[in-house]
Symmetry: C2
Subunit: 201 residues, 2 copies
Amino acid sequence: MSPLPIEFWFEFASTYSYPAAMRIQDLAAQAGATVQWRAFLLGPIFSQQGWNDSPFNIYPTKGRYMWRDLERVCARLRIPFRKPTVFPRNGLIAARITCQFAEADWIGAFVRAVYTANFAEDQDISDVAVLESILERLGQRGPAIIECAQSSESKARLREQTEQAVRLGIFGAPSVRVGDELFWGNDRLDDALEWYKRGVV
Amino acid sequence: MSPLPIEFWFEFASTYSYPAAMRIQDLAAQAGATVQWRAFLLGPIFSQQGWNDSPFNIYPTKGRYMWRDLERVCARLRIPFRKPTVFPRNGLIAARITCQFAEADWIGAFVRAVYTANFAEDQDISDVAVLESILERLGQRGPAIIECAQSSESKARLREQTEQAVRLGIFGAPSVRVGDELFWGNDRLDDALEWYKRGVV
């Protein structure tokens, strides 16, 4: 019997998803778990709460704190960080790629490369050329993958996955699911993996 | 020269302030720091953000998660927890007492007792009798302290302290200030004390 996977629910625009995405595959491996990469969109979820932008933009005091805190968190975890000049960046195509190719062996590396582009290299991850370049570096055929990710079937898949997030009680990113237990935030990564280990052992 | 204090900014109704309030004096002592207890009110701050209730009530999905998470956090920290039947409870008088008697040697014990009443014993902390009972157990004259805390001077003091919180960029509770550095949330207590130790050493 193969071990239970842990589900990593994330949005490419989400700031605190960045340090979590960079670490989760290694942390999961140390715990004997595999990661299921579950990209979704925060936009529709925030809309339901009456927000038409990131709450970090709607509430500037909270936003100012978040950027300083993220800088400290990344420094502590030794993860490179440069504040993006545009926030939030549109991660729609990257999310469709992740959703469509979630089982590919290169998908974890793709997720990390997109986050690095956004939060360490200040690149525009909504730009197809940026995504193609990332895919090519991973040895993949960028244009073919992006064409597939932009198919109506692939678009529907991401919409469905976002609806599933709502049904699972997910309201923010990153969120980690271990069985039926939900953990929200980069700050809960260790707790989620502790939970996993307790369940498996 | 006495060491720099750390400032603990909290609201008695705030759920995540509970585990932080229960631990901060011990953690600070281990780091060689003293605690300045800074009660304030979240109500006026939330009003400015357009909220007329706790965001955990306004956004029920987030609220459901918070209660489960708080239960897990308290279990991990071995802090007793019982979900209050009323939330949020009105901590106005308790906050005025804390503000007026912030320098008293019993104030840390008072803060912990009020939080325990709310989040472990499901008592109504807006009830003067509950607060008097806590004060008496601490060897204080309850009615005299409450009368003083309800004076117009004391009311103005809490208002002023809440305005100061806003000026300091505080948007939620608990918040810890170490010098000019702000840390938000029970999850940042250890980081705040690390920061303190780095600054002192």
